[in-house]
């Protein structure tokens, strides 16, 4: 596998350079190699060769990043779980992947029923970083996203998928990292966007700067940009929404690339942000977890490239080897200029949801193109293809929303809200927007007011923090649309948060 060999080469070639800065402590590529070899030794000597899906607790430390590389050198996949997410949900994840081994750098591990490898207490080292022979069809990672029925949905990604992502980014002449770059790594490792913010810096010998837990993210990010003179930013748009009131105080000449993804980027704020970074190229990336992070981008420029639809910047063109197709309800291509669901085909496509045949039938289809069967993933995003071949983002086709970049199924929140409620009443989760333009979750309850403490405690034991509703409104009778469905738009008006 070429990209894994290149990771090895980069780590060895850049041994004097820094790979990571965690809470102001720097680690070199040499330190990184030392950690990888220790963890690799433990993997090779404790985990049976048939065990491929290995749990990884995503702490903010060098050992956690080293574990990913060590697993890959051994041809194994990581199944990341966030230590801040309820244990119950994380165990559900390990249960569904039948994971027995967990790498956990926490001081004390809570995974008592698993075989835990603690990278902090290892003494022996594997002799080298030479990758094993790796099957491209084997998995590199599995990430879990919000599912509609209270069960998180697993998205497996193969080594071939990751190689295809690397090939596509390498092909892009306007984006080139090098070993003097200082890159922001703001993402939790259970979030698929993190794959590009650790993989590309490591391949280039750049240094990653992470965000410690418990800080206010957007201010800490600005502090890093300012004090560490970061050169490469990869962010979700909600970060700059928070910083917007302070844009007039921001002028950061060090930044040369700023990539956005994981949510709609609006034209007005992109222009203002662009003024804060005078030497920077801005990329508006698009891509779902199911298609290995990125599938394409639009090269935004405040004067020359400002294509948008309803104030949302275009998502541009597909990258190398990727096909975009806009279809109607029966998976037939719609004409240029018409709205339809965006579907993605090519080598970055996931083999399919983990053990979820039902969902796979709905989300994937094949069609013949030039005598070849092409498999497509239906993104649930509505798009328009324009005359110049650029794709414009219109909105979602379902009830999925983005909260701080995380994909959230509103029905999963409703499922857990209703599950243990003594009052059997209608509950609907809605996405509402605060005055900064960021989505928050509201829970509308069709009832006279009652105490929701127990409902919230239950939700907090089942779902990560970002999925817990921030606002509750009791409404005696829900508004309905003409065809009898609950009118979600009208419900949203009951929440006044802007």
């Amino acid at each position: 596998m070429k990209f894994i060999k290149n990771i090895q080469n980069s780590i060895e070639y850049n041994s004097e350079h820094n790979v990571l800065c965690v809470n102001n402590v720097f680690y070199s590529y040499n330190d990184f190699a030392t950690e990888i070899k220790k963890i690799r030794y433990a993997i090779a000597n404790t985990i049976e060769s048939t065990e491929k899906l290995i749990g990884l607790v995503t702490n903010d430390d060098i050992q956690t990043y080293a574990s990913i590389i060590a697993l890959w050198l051994e041809g194994k996949a990581y199944v990341p779980v966030n230590p801040e997410v309820p244990l119950d949900r994380n165990l559900q994840v390990f249960n569904s992947t039948q994971t027995q081994y967990v790498i956990d750098s926490s001081k004390e591990s809570v995974y008592n029923n698993h075989i835990v490898i603690s990278p902090l207490n290892l003494t022996e080292s594997y002799p080298d970083l030479n990758p094993k022979k790796i099957e491209g069809e084997d998995l590199a990672y599995i990430l879990f996203t919000s599912g509609t029925t209270g069960q998180p949905k697993g998205v497996p990604i193969t080594f071939n998928n990751v190689q295809a992502l690397v090939n596509a980014i390498d092909e892009e002449p306007t984006f080139n990292l090098n070993n003097t770059d200082r890159c922001l790594q703001m993402f939790e490792l259970t979030f698929d966007f993190s794959v590009v913010t650790y993989l590309f810096p490591i391949l280039a010998g750049s240094c990653m700067y992470t965000i410690p837990k418990g800080v206010i993210k957007y201010f800490y990010i600005f502090k890093l940009i300012k004090e560490k003179e970061l050169t490469v930013l990869t962010m979700v748009p909600s970060i700059i929404n928070y910083l917007r009131p302070y844009f007039h105080e921001i002028n950061e000449e060090s930044v040369r690339y700023c990539s956005f993804g994981g949510g709609a980027l609006h034209t007005d704020i992109a222009k203002e942000w662009s003024n804060c970074l005078p030497n920077c190229k801005i990329f508006n990336y698009y891509g779902p977890t199911e298609f290995t992070v990125y599938s394409g981008f639009y090269p935004y420029h405040k004067e020359t490239h400002t294509k948008s639809y309803n104030g949302i910047i275009a998502i541009g063109k597909p990258q190398k080897d990727t096909l975009y197709l806009v279809v109607d309800d029966s998976n037939k291509e719609v004409p240029i200029g018409a709205t339809g669901e965006l579907c993605l085909g090519g080598p970055q496509i996931t083999p399919g949801y983990w053990k979820n045949e039902e969902r796979n039938k709905l989300s994937f289809f094949s069609r013949e193109e030039n005598g070849e069967q092409i498999r497509y993933y239906k993104t649930g995003d509505l798009c328009i293809k324009d005359e110049e071949g650029d794709f414009l983002y219109v909105g979602r086709a379902d009830f999925q929303v983005k909260i701080r970049g995380y994909r959230v199924e509103l029905s999963e929140i409703e499922y857990h809200a209703k599950a243990k409620s003594e009052k059997k009443v209608n509950m609907v989760a809605v996405d509402i927007y605060n005055k900064l333009g960021n989505a928050e979750i509201g829970l509308a309850i069709e009832s006279n007011p009652f105490d929701t403490t127990q409902i919230f405690e239950y939700m907090k034991s089942k779902m990560p923090n970002y999925m817990i509703p921030m606002h509750v409104e009791f409404i005696e009778v829900f508004p309905h649309s003409i065809n009898g469905k609950i009118d979600r738009k009208a419900l949203k008006k009951h929440f006044n948060i802007s």
């Binding site: 837990k213 418990g214 800080v215 206010i216 993210k217 957007y218 201010f219 800490y220 600005f222 502090k223 300012k226 928070y242 910083l243 302070y246 105080e249 921001i250 701080r404 605060n434 900064l436 960021n438 928050e440 923090n465 921030m470």
Partner: protein, 82 residues
């Protein structure tokens, strides 16, 4: 206004935004220690405090504000200037 008075006013702003008062703010308190104090509510708390004290924080102050102690320091110096 002395530091205790400032802290009292700050505590009121916190409970108004967070809609609870299950916390005691001291110099060492950080976002980790208070239920509900995170990205979104931080923004709301800051603007609540700016309104209550009739001041405007600088981004440079905010980026170094890691604890209640830092917040009180900033407020003290802002209030001296105005």
């Amino acid at each position: 206004m002395n530091r205790e008075d400032i802290l009292e006013k700050v505590t009121i702003a916190f409970s108004k935004v967070l809609e609870h008062n299950n916390f005691t703010l001291t110099n060492n308190t950080t976002a980790d220690d208070v239920d509900g104090w995170e990205s979104i509510t931080h923004m709301m708390i800051i603007s609540e405090i700016e309104n209550d004290f009739n001041i405007k924080f600088k981004l440079m102050d905010l980026m170094n504000m890691n604890s209640i102690g830092d917040l009180l320091d900033s407020l003290e110096s802002e209030l001296k200037v105005s």
